[in-house]
Chain length 358, copies 2
Amino acid sequence: MDKTIRDHGGDIYTEGQLRGRELLDFSANINPLGIPKSFKENIKSILESAVNYPDLKYREAKENIKAYLALESSKYEIILGNGAAEIIDLSLSLLKKVCIAVPSFGEYRTSALKYDIDIEYSYLKEEEEFHYDYEDILRKLHHCDGLILGNPNNPNGGIIDKKAFQPILDFCEENSKLIIIDEAFIEFTGEPNRSFLQESLQYQCLIVIRAVTKFFALPGIRFGYGITTNSKVAESIRSKQLPWNINTFAEVSLKYIFKDKEYIESTIRYVNKQKSLLTEGLRKIPFIEKVYESSGNFLLLKLKDITDEEIFESCLQRGILVRRCGNYEGLNHSFIRVAVKDRKSNDTLISLLKDIHI
Amino acid sequence: MDKTIRDHGGDIYTEGQLRGRELLDFSANINPLGIPKSFKENIKSILESAVNYPDLKYREAKENIKAYLALESSKYEIILGNGAAEIIDLSLSLLKKVCIAVPSFGEYRTSALKYDIDIEYSYLKEEEEFHYDYEDILRKLHHCDGLILGNPNNPNGGIIDKKAFQPILDFCEENSKLIIIDEAFIEFTGEPNRSFLQESLQYQCLIVIRAVTKFFALPGIRFGYGITTNSKVAESIRSKQLPWNINTFAEVSLKYIFKDKEYIESTIRYVNKQKSLLTEGLRKIPFIEKVYESSGNFLLLKLKDITDEEIFESCLQRGILVRRCGNYEGLNHSFIRVAVKDRKSNDTLISLLKDIHI
């Protein structure tokens, strides 16, 4: 199979649609409530806007982001991306040597390699429940000019311990190193204080990356954004961007989805409830040795006596796609990741796994 | 005014929507028939696809392009872009020194500067009706490794004379230089033979760039593509792209709009008819010295005794946006560009211009 495909979840095409069958996709971590009604109901007026070029400066879109995140200070700079992937990529492009906490989203590494940036990995250790090793990160930052990490982190769902992270923040601020925090899944925690948006008011070393992809169930719309109070960093990134990099559907959707409080609150309640139920169910499967605590809408599973490839194949035969983790730097073939989906789909997954006898 | 805004047409925001008024926009060259019905009618099913990540390899989208352009040979490589701007930008990034025929689309220059690429301009001369100076281009290519030019060219609407271009094609093929042909407006000619797609089967030096922006009236969808038989060039460009760079709305729309023969044929008939009428009307305006022959859906106008800024302001006061041309390399403040719009809008423009007394 093509490597680029193997690197990511959400490929319902290779084994699915292009062969004429629908797969139940547990490999992409998308809000199970689906596309917000507030978006669907306004699709006609959004569509009409597509006859115009987007605003080159995306002024309304930026105002909508500021309102959504209650960013009151004028110090905040907002950078819009064709998916969070663009902001991750361009933030990394500013570095010479980056510390990447792994296992984590494969694009951190891919982008770093693309720009010939040296990489130092800080490994999250299985024996420490895949928590960040803050001391190791700090040590490595002495010879890196930047750090990238997820909050929560994909694929394990771990979140940054702010107290333990403080020395890293101080060190980077004093030494002009860049900290890129990928918060693509942060809204699922339901706890705004987990985000580093507040800290970024004080710390110019920070850039926080968000997306509508996961939480608003719109991976197809391609929209992410970066927030920083470091205007130099913002300017450097913008200078590398194309004009009109955000499509109208993304640009205009914000005025609906960001104000959809009902959707936002239901999601947090629903996903957390389903996560508990799914975790419980999975813990009863004999070949699942461990289900990690996750602040995201996905669960990392440690397997025993079976490989990720074997589970992948068994599930695929039954029409379910799971995320093999053998290709994550810092993991091996004993892990898979599954999304938290709707109740019925989660039950289907559990029944199917129960049927696998090894 | 902000320079990035001044560089492009289509800014209905700065003076328009953001101040609560609608402008009649003659500065962006969008098909006056508007968004194809075939797209609007299928928006709901397109919308539902946005809950999934696009196909990382965009296999169906590429098949739809091949069918639309009747590209039968398997030698053709297709590269998809977040707007044609992305393909222009990445094609240019492969060069060290580029020859740009000017006046032309400002992004050629902007991208070249972004990558620190040296530029040699080949000027289209007013006294030669802004036709390409093929001999000058060939001369300059001796010390450039690539050429970029429009077919038809924006802002004048001139098209490449294939016979006169042949020596350039041969020279570039023999000397491994890259020719980037921007065909964003080619469909308006109604003459497929004007395109260099056929030539690109024989000439590996060619990359042809297309877009749905103008002809299918979808600037907001952000979709362009490059076609080449040079697999090395294709691979180099792809290696610089982000995953999922094309949004679902663009990806899925192709299966509707590219098959919409009625829209395609009506557009060509309608725009050509309106272009004749508009040209005729404009030629009667006393301060318009010349209306250039255009193969695109826009007209370049030479002014006398009045500047582009003055016309711009007069029109803006009356709710119409025209494209000032003073910031085009190779033009000056004696030129404006107007789109060919629907009959009623074109008549409004002509009446308004008649009312300007200088």
